[in-house]
């Protein structure tokens, strides 16, 4: 059983190479006011009470409506946001995943996990990183954690059927290895339905 799960690793590596190169960083919020938005921190030994008078008060108390007051312009402002798919890997994250892969090949799972966690910090919405973490936990025989990371990866795989299918298959294998046959069949069915 375990052999099959590990065997799956190869397909993920290929998949990462494919999707990793086509990445472009998503939109990022840039605070207004640039450098002047907060005064520089004072020397550590002195008080840190920021006294910057250049800090324009954007907000005044009188502007705050009472908590339960419904908004008159309801519906006019931006509506709740969602996205169809997660984010692809940036070159930086991809380089960490590659290093992790080489540690995995050497059997150094803890170094692999440390590198994947670094990748996860800079690419927290990328299913590939979570699937790789799952793979590393399979290699270190911690199948419970592996299953959770697969589920986490699936939760950000979105509409990418390729990623979805790989994730559900990985999950089916892990569940089977853990003796959860019904759960494995369920995951397999999800993969086939895609």
């Amino acid at each position: 059983m375990k052999y099959r799960v590990i065997g799956l690793a190869g397909t993920f590596s290929a998949l990462l190479i494919l999707s990793g190169c086509a990445s472009s960083p998503g939109g990022i919020y840039v605070p207004i006011g640039g450098e002047r938005r907060a005064p520089a921190p004072p020397p550590p030994s002195t008080s840190t009470e920021p006294t910057g008078s250049d800090e324009a008060p954007v907000w005044r108390k009188s502007e705050i409506p009472d908590e339960p007051e419904p908004s008159p312009e309801a519906g006019e402002s931006a509506s709740p946001s969602y996205r169809d798919s997660g984010e692809s890997l940036s070159p930086a994250a991809l380089s960490l995943v590659r290093e992790a892969e080489s540690y995995l090949r050497q059997g150094n799972t803890s170094a692999a996990i440390a590198h994947l966690e670094r990748a996860q910090r800079i690419a927290p919405r990328s299913a590939e990183v979570y699937f790789k973490l799952s793979e590393a936990y399979v290699a270190s025989d911690r199948l419970g954690a592996a299953e959770q990371f697969t589920l986490k990866g699936l939760s950000v795989a979105g509409s990418d059927t390729h990623l979805q299918r790989s994730g559900w298959r990985l999950l089916a294998d892990i569940r089977r290895a853990r003796g959860n046959i019904a759960g494995a069949d369920q995951a397999e069915a999800r993969a086939s339905a895609l």
Binding site: G27, V30, I64, D66, S81, D84, S85, G86
Partner: protein, 776 residues
Amino acid sequence: MKNNRTSSGSKKKSSRKSSRNGRRPWFWRLFLRVAVIGLVLLAGWMVYLDAVITDRFEGRRFEVPSRVFARPLELYDGAGISSGALERELELAGFRKGDGNKPGSYRRNGGHFLISTRGFRFPDGDEPRRRLSLNIYGDRIQDFSVRAGDPAAIVRLEPAQIGGIYPAHKEDRILVQLDQVPALLPATLMAVEDRNFYDHVGIAPLSIARAMLANIRAGEVVQGGSTLTQQLVKNFFLTRKQTLVRKGNEALMSILLELHYDKGDILETYLNEVYLGQAGTRSINGFGLASQFYFGESLRDLGVHQIALLVGMVKGPSYYNPRRHPERATARRNLVISEMEEAGLIEPVRAAQARGRPLGVSERPSYSENRYPAYIDLVRRHLARDYREEDLRSEGLRIFTTLNPAIQYAAEFAVSNTLPRLASGETRKALEAALVVTAKDSGEVLALVGGRDPQFAGFNRALDASRPIGSLVKPFVYLSALSRPDRYTLITPLQDKSFVLEFDDGQRWQPKNYDEKERGEIPLHTALSHSYNLPTVRLGLDVGVDVVRETLQAFGVTSPISPYPSMLLGAVSMNPVTVAQMYQGLATSGFNTPLRTIREVTDAGGEPLSRYSLEVDQVADPAAVHLVQYAMQETMREGTGKSAYYTVPDELALAGKTGTTDDGRDSWFAGFSGDLLAVAWVGRDDNGPTSLTGASGALPVWSRFMAQIPQHGFSPVMPDGVNYHWVDSERQALTDEYCDNARLVPFIAGSEPTREVSCSGALQRRIQGWFEGLFR
């Protein structure tokens, strides 16, 4: 008995005899006896001293404090950081403005940075020295490249030290080994303090004689002829008081030390022991730490002039303190440089160059203790699970935390900047606050503020203020309901009408809305986004208080939760950190992620001792959580949280929830963006009333914080099994996108309405009415 008598008899006899034969033999005998006794005592004393020495030298010689590091800054193309924040990070990590070529220096030209790293040994591998070039444009790193050193797409700066856990005697040091020390340092030390170090046996009688002569002439102790060994013995085993007995002990112990240990061992211990300065209550010991403390540089990177200054300071660290007395320090340094030249350690040209250089001292020590007391408090509580306090104080552990200095700074600023504007008079003085910031998907605690004065190491409200959470509980009531798509969707109508609950013991409970109004029938998403109490309690009772309680427990609440219906309105107490833990699962689509402040702990040599890994645990259906996230986003756009957008620009998508308890005793806000989760609390330590609500107290602090950080907006990935539909939520029917009441709402597959209403009819009627008016 007999023998005794005989002997005593003979004694008397002999004494009589000796007195008869004159004083000399008696005197010599006594002298001999005293000498023998003296020698025996001396031998005993030396055995004792020897035990003292070997005991200290064989065991652990130094109690080394543990060092606490911030998270290292990751530099790569696309990383979000402003130029100002990068410069602050560099300074915190001990980098100095310079040419950008010398390790530990950087050069900034507008948004362009040239940085030369020093290299650092991380628990998961070495980060070698590199020269980096990058541009910052729109708060993002671009054109990142490695100019010299191992090529890499991502590089970690060395982490800033943010604190230490010190031994009781408050001595701080960084241990160095003799072979890591530049050879010029011990050579200079010997040239200045002890020229015959490699030849003497621990003491140098000639020097002592010379010093004694000078002391006798002066009538007091003016000169010391101490060898390095004697100085070490003095610092290591004896008091600083200069008495003759102490001097004797010092000499004896020095000889014993030299008998037991080789010169290299003694020299290395000296280099680590010597006192070189003071920072508050903490003493700076050893050259390793002194180099960091005065120059912000590693010993191996010091120049001739810097080595000369440190060696010169051995004579009197406070008298020659280069920060306080730069002239004295320069004179002393130049004297040492001359000694170096005289001893042939450096060429005259280099000596002249060194004399011409400024002191090269950094403006301030690279870090000061207690900069982040609330955060270190949480770190220590986490460490206490696996480490003994005495080990933390003495074993020189290296603790790698998750603190993000830029975010911590923004959090402190948000609290201290906003709090004074929230109230007036007495309440203003009494207002306190706490703020917790975590990385949304990893559970790493990035910043922690425990009160209005972030420098004050006292009551840590983020951890120790356990307060009723009010409406912060509501998302979990709605999640419990929405997990049953057969019964509830976001557009299920709820009754906003008052009612009375009568308990078996005759008690009555009649909840009210905050504005005391009733609105009749409203859709479920509106009830949550506007935080209405009546429909929430009705919904909670319908789902079952026990079910809601189980949801809360699944999301990590371990404190006791009341089984009474008042729990549905937040009659359950938690501290801000626990609230952050509970909201982590909501922010990450149903995955509990344990909050962490520590990534790794290593021993003094960098060998890993513990790793605290990322963990995830699915506790709720991502689809149901997605629906709750929808309503929490609506809260920010249309509901109780919308005043956040007075501070935060429209394009930053956020989700969150306000919380208020009776009489404004607690004002809460918990919410998240794409990258960050933050929980703010505002209230009084005496639990007194304020005029604040969640929206007017905690939310301004929260939004002030969020507005400062470059980050991604909240835009969750639509989970499997969720579909978005245009609906008229008042009429619980599908409708067309262009209709007036149309709203794009997510549904768990199969739970969407089947009935369709069209607004085309309404449009027709409107046109008709217009024509009628025209021709009337």
